[in-house]
């Protein structure tokens, strides 16, 4: 089993519903977020392109945050989900420094927090909150090891990219382009 998220940048309108759903579902403290929208405009006028992306922890296979954690609070569970055990975390910030995606933040209670792919929902067989609320249905979630899953099929048939692949982290959030 290898969980992965596939996000269609051609369908995303940048409404931030995923951000709000995550904040509500996971009781994210005010002023913080586990996922966010980036809007990038590239090219030279008049040939410009707009790209909207919903970003979050990439649940990397080669996760630098897990590698550099001195206590083992950051760890990978079944399905490739990267989690933080709050009462093992000392709040040293090494994982935040190590993340090429800046996906982690220090929770006001001291420990480091991040996207969990809504692990508590996955255990109940539900989709992550962000995926379940997306009004344009541009987000897909599933098992990459299953060749017939929706995410596997999308990655087979569509062009996609990952973020900062040169960082060598083998990220598992894919963007259809």
């Amino acid at each position: 089993m290898r969980y992965a998220m596939v996000i269609d940048t051609l369908k995303c309108v940048g409404c931030s519903d995923c951000v709000v759903a995550c904040q509500t579902e996971n009781n994210v403290p005010h002023g913080y977020c586990r996922d966010w929208i980036t809007e990038s405009v590239s090219g030279s006028y008049p040939n410009v392109e707009l790209e909207l992306k919903s970003e979050r922890c990439n649940h990397c296979d080669n996760a630098p945050c897990v590698r550099c954690c001195p206590t083992g609070a950051s760890h990978i569970v079944e399905g490739g989900v990267v989690l933080v055990t709050a009462n093992e975390c000392i709040g040293c910030g090494a994982c935040i420094e190590s993340c090429p995606y800046d996906a982690r933040y220090q929770h006001p209670d001291g420990y480091v927090d991040k996207c969990t792919f809504c692990h508590h929902r996955l255990e109940k067989g539900q989709l992550p909150a962000c995926v379940s609320v997306c009004p344009t249905k541009c987000m897909y979630f599933g098992d990459l090891d299953n060749p017939n899953s929706e995410v596997s099929q999308l990655l087979k048939n569509r062009k996609y990219k990952t973020l900062a692949p040169e960082a060598g982290t083998n990220p598992h959030v894919f963007y259809l382009i």
Binding site: C33, T38, G43, P64, C68, T71, C89, Q106, A167
Partner: protein, 319 residues
């Protein structure tokens, strides 16, 4: 003109628009850790070589700085943690891939050893303070303890030589292990921080030494270390130049960017080149107040840590 404009919907303090998780305590610790590593290395080395009578400042007197520096450094580290009550979790595991785990364990062993080393020379080097405090009269067990520590001095010295080197390298590896921060992510940072630490350690010995021969010897050692450090800095800059786009952008902070004056003015010129020239002039035979180059080296080392910690956090992958 090709342009790319990013608008982020994220509002996380200390992460957007640029990362600022590590502040002055980390920079201060990296400096103090390096300084203590340098002092302990020279103390242990010259003791093992049997030169403790010839070079009393290196072996006996300056070693009082090491436990103080390590204690302040450790306090700074714990102060920087946001979940400090869980610090003990560091010692429930050893994670071979995490430089911070290495550092935590090395500090756990080195700090008490540095206290023991300084304690073993306390009565000998700081007799005046002892006659005032009368600690050994008040607490009788200190006498037996002192005899025990003095008997084991050689063992402590043999342990301190590798430990101090690991401590000195670790202060650099701590930063260089993060591939997400291109300015830090080069293999030369470990040796560079070790050299800088040894150099500041030698400078501290020069400051506290009363004998001319000892000052001259450590002047020579410091000069050699400064030359090595300059060479390593040249290699570091060359490495950025030969690197990928993210490393080129990182280097621009030091060469032509916001940190140019701090790096080339205060670290390279005032912290390395000027003291090197002053130490050279002194070795030739002219009179130079030794306090000047020694202090410049120490302050330069401190500024170097601040520049690297602050600038490194401005660099990242762009995607």
């Amino acid at each position: 003109m090709q342009e790319e404009l990013f608008t982020s919907g994220r509002h996380i303090p200390h992460i957007d628009p640029s990362l600022e998780i590590w502040h002055w305590p980390i920079a201060l610790y990296l400096f103090l850790g390096g300084l203590a590593a340098g002092i302990l290395f020279f103390a242990a080395l010259f003791y093992v070589l049997g030169k403790d009578r010839e070079y009393p400042a290196a072996v006996k007197i300056t070693s009082i700085i090491a436990p103080i520096a390590l204690s302040i450094g450790l306090l700074a580290l714990v102060y920087d943690l946001t979940h400090p009550l869980y610090t003990w979790q560091l010692y429930t595991t050893f994670r071979i891939e995490s430089p911070m785990s290495w550092g935590a364990w090395v500090l756990l062993i080195t700090t008490p050893l540095s206290f023991l080393w300084a304690f073993s020379y306390y009565r000998e080097s700081f007799g005046k303070i002892e006659t005032k405090l009368k600690l050994f009269k008040r607490f009788k067990f200190l006498n037996t303890f002192e005899t025990f520590v003095i008997k084991n001095r050689k063992n402590i010295a043999y342990a301190l030589i590798p430990l101090s080197l690991v401590l000195g390298v670790y202060t650099g590896i701590l930063l260089s292990a993060f591939n997400a921060r291109p300015l830090w992510n080069n293999a030369i940072l470990g040796p560079l921080f070790l050299t800088s630490g040894l150099s500041t350690g030698a400078a501290a010995i020069i400051l506290l030494s009363k004998s001319v021969t000892e000052r001259h010897l450590f002047g020579k050692i410091d000069l050699g270390l400064i030359i090595v450090e300059l060479a390593l800095i040249v290699h570091m800059i060359m490495g950025y130049y030969a690197g990928s786009q993210v490393q080129l952008e990182a280097m621009e902070l030091l060469v032509g960017g916001d940190f140019t004056l701090m790096f080339f003015g205060f670290v390279v010129l005032l912290g390395l080149l000027v003291p090197a020239i002053l130490e050279l002039i002194e070795l030739i035979g002219y009179k130079v107040p030794v306090i000047v180059p020694a202090l410049l080296v120490i302050i330069g080392g401190l500024i170097f840590r601040f520049v690297m910690v602050e600038a490194g956090q401005l660099t990242r992958y762009l995607y």
